[in-house]
Symmetry: D2
């Protein structure tokens, strides 16, 4: 039985991790860390856990945690994990960091986009980018997993096969993404109030969203060339779900079958990536509550472009589910353990 | 491994049954019945099932099903199950009927409220009302389970302890209930369109809703006297969830502790009924996707009334989850098998 | 042209008042008061007002306002208006207070339910309860209008005709109310976040909501006897709208026609109260954005009760619209001026 | 007083036209046409109109209407208007067609994208594309107005200034659009049910949506060159609103000020187009219920692209409001008459 600790268990991603680990037969949570609710019953913070979780919230104390657990999940704001991780901790336990601290290899890029100094740059190189479908083998031996961002997970998996195959002109790539509101976190901000979000759609972080360099870096590995793209997120009045609509010019005319084969070759054996049939577009409702990413595409002969689409639950495959998938890989468990969740509809 | 067949698997309740049974380690679905989609891939009707269900929709043919399965779930409109069940079927298989056909013992009451003639009245007496917490032992040996209605499940469980204890004046009982829209079914009706339901709340079926006599009958067993009450359902702009707010005059002054003890005595050992702490009101968000019913109450000394409240997922404990719970009882499995679902929030 | 000032113009009710007054041909807003946004462009706080309002937010300074305007609207938390009103202000201007400060005639009841000491009890008696349909004549000559609460407006208008006629047993009266989320205000609280409210319904303030004594007082005037009732509000995932479902025992058997006539006699000449046809239930969507209250009822012969229902936009008839209606009365304008708004659907 | 008739008054756009015309002091509706509800009280179809509209639904009979009214609005599916318009009708009355029949000048393009034969091609050339801000003068003298589509209105107005100025490479133009659900109409289809739309976002009509050639044609006039672009609409769980996010490569480096001036030069005098301040993104909530289009842009130096954005209420500026604006122009009224609606928030 894997002993797990969560730093930041009282945010939406942290709570989703609790939901998944409670249903995971090989793991148990022994530490519910929190910044704001120390000493309070966890089930008072999240009443869905009433009679399911008996523990109280504890300090976000990584050193103490390292002695108590086999794996630490950090579901915290940027900068925290990098500032508290150290050699002693890494000697005792694994770290799966759900923040952005170890996702970007070039520390100057991280510091420019995030606007903070990186407090643990010495660990950046060894950290493995935990997109399981792409980095499965490296993940298994890592000490630090940089759990991918929600938008990057969905964007990269939607585009990867065509970037890898050199079929699209990476200079023309545009990603228009839409997310449910749980992605904005559980802090009490005016902009996240029900009446501000409901009956509204807006773009935000236009040209400046921090997930941009993460997507660029990973797609540049796939394409074998530097990638510079537009990424525009939008806030949608729903709880969960991310939809990515990506546009790129084709380098040459292609048939549906050829493109389909590229996706199938990449994902045919991947349980969590579902390549949809022809003319079926991904929708967030079909993956809600599950670790699936549904991907599809449409070729436009008129404009010589391909539209690549992906849908995913931002809290599962985009955060907690992928973190558990990484944990399974780290501890030699079947990758699907605890993650065979049928999407819940409606 | 229990072989299960579903008549009416392409409605919301039927599909939820599929979701639950796919995650149930002792059951497998061998028949996906449907009226409207015969011959179509089930996963084309519900794309969340893509790559999870490989079967096609089949006829709603109970006789053929009886040869193929150990248990038949009927998730169909009123009247169908009663019209197709017969001795031969019952000799071969168990029936869990999610419709109202066998819930009401007095056939004239059924016919008056439902406005149709009952086609199988000879099976009414033997059918067991499948509210597991109340009728556990009788369920185990039944051939036909009348799976309770969504509103009745939540209403009865919220009120039962005080009705049973004789603490409330049953003549003063008023139930004001609120339901998410999945309860209205998946048929393409104007009133169920997004723009008609969204940003709206309304009462419907005022004084005439068909769940009224079902609630009255069950509570009359608990109270040991005939019960005649007001039940008013409301349609709420959300997918899932039922909330019951019930009002009754107290027969004598009572303390919080006394009432709490009555609830605890009834439900202390029940996994699926959670009695909330003092001053905590049930909310549908805390039970979504799970088989839990959360109950609570508030005493009003000013008016000498008690307000009894319950929250539940109408598709799980109010339909498919309770059906699986009944199946577990019928087949001697631990009652929680396949139902230890942590509520999904947000 | 009436010069109007608003104290608390940056809450949801205050902003709705701005929307209505901008479309009112006999009024102009000369003071946009705010506690949190002093010095900021009003249209930066509410971008719907971009290019429509050019002013900046100013202090909530009632004394300065009194010199500048003909009428002051206070759309502020309880206690503020009572603490800043004074004889000099009342000598210069009219006050329409959207808070509860002057709604309840018995100061001890106010202090008990609101938990604060009343800072201006000497003005309570002269203040007129601004439910225009009931107190039209007294409103015209008042200096202070106590603009009714949202729940009370809808509850009282739904029940008034039968209370007045002595047709219902007031001791059996139960009000189950449902409100959209704008009623909770625009402060950044965890409980009002999108993901906390969406896909959820809950009761709150059970037995303790502050609108209870306000409803009781007004209905006691109608019934000519003290009234003690249960009022239970619920939070609904929608922006606007209040629905009231009220239950009472009939004092004697009545026909539909008799009850209908009572409603028609009360409201036949009232533009803003629409008595719905038989078997039509009020729905919040049909009044959204307008100053209408739709009322209806259903008699239940089985239980000898009548169910009285009302629907209203909480920000219009429940707050800003009624305030404008009061202003029209105060200044001798036709009561509908600026309020002939067709409900917006969907 | 302009006498107006509506063919198709019982859809969402038709009903919105009723809402606007009821509040228009120079127009009255004398004919409520409907296909499905002939003989029924209009206020029974839309209860918001209770006590406001006393008429019954009448046949969609254009010839009879032509004798009775000064202007006919057709808010009907594609093909109908073209099949019933004729010289006699046009000799007696004006037509404002909210369908696509007369929007596209090249009949073969219309027939290819809409998949039907055009039944009145002889009127295509004289029909004026009713985007008031661009074609104001030609509208005034027209007999047939082709009221623009919802997506085209928002797309064209967002992009027009830069297309006109030759600042963007039209071959790189990509429009990613998002719409509320009222755009899908009021027909009872499975895909429009509450539980299918709620908590979901999806793209639809990818590469094939019929508004594509309409946008291309109008932008080609602006740019002075043929335009071929990608237009991808998405369905958002909200009632009203369209958001457009458009991407194009810049032909040369530009400053914020230069681009801002182009927008201001185009729209500085336009009441209904609001050019937002720097770094403010359009949001649909700020225009709901009004005839405004809010536009903004962001320059991305990294990718040498400009992101152009627009937000609008699809039922007002995207349908009924623009139709009234056209009516005002046709009849020599101030363009804003009946349209000075303050956006309703929340």
């Amino acid at each position: 039985m894997i002993k797990a600790g969560i730093i930041g268990s009282t945010g939406y991603a942290g709570q989703e991790l609790v939901r998944l680990l409670l249903q995971h037969r090989e793991a148990e949570i022994v530490w519910y860390g929190s910044k704001s609710y120390v000493g309070k019953q966890y089930s008072e913070v999240f009443s869905n856990m009433f009679e399911l979780v008996d523990q109280k919230c504890m300090e976000d104390d990584m050193d103490a945690l390292a002695d108590a657990v086999d794996v630490i999940f950090t579901a915290t704001p940027q900068g925290l994990c990098a500032s508290i991780v150290n050699d002693e901790v890494l000697g005792k336990t694994k770290i799966i960091d759900l923040s952005a601290d170890f996702r970007i290899k070039d520390v100057s890029v991280y510091e420019a986009w995030y606007g903070i100094r990186h407090a643990g740059p010495q660990y950046i190189q060894e950290a493995v980018y935990g997109l399981c479908e792409l980095n499965r083998e490296s993940i298994k031996g890592a000490r630090i997993i940089a759990n991918p961002g929600c938008y990057p997970t969905c964007s990269i998996l939607s585009i990867y096969p065509l970037a890898k195959a050199g079929l699209i002109d990476m200079g023309t790539l545009i990603i228009d993404a839409k997310s449910g509101t749980s992605g904005a976190g559980r802090s009490a901000k005016l902009g996240n109030l029900y009446c501000e979000v409901n009956e509204n759609i807006k773009a935000y972080g236009v040209t400046t969203h921090r997930h941009t360099p993460e997507i660029e870096e990973q797609l540049s590995y796939a394409a074998g060339e530097p990638v510079c793209l537009n990424f525009t997120p939008h806030l949608v009045p729903m709880n969960r779900g991310i939809l990515v609509t990506a546009y790129a010019s084709l380098r040459r005319p292609v048939s549906y079958e050829e493109v389909k084969k590229l996706y199938d070759d990449c994902y045919g054996k991947e349980y969590f990536v579902r390549v949809l049939p022809q003319n079926v577009c991904p929708e967030t409702r079909w993956v809600e509550g599950s670790n699936f990413v549904d991907v599809g595409f449409q070729i436009d002969e008129r404009t010589n472009r391909v539209i690549m689409m992906g849908a995913m639950d931002n809290l599962v495959k985009g955060a907690a589910g992928q973190a558990v998938q990484n944990m399974n890989l780290l501890f030699g468990l079947p990758e699907k353990t605890g993650l065979e969740l049928v999407p819940m509809f409606p």
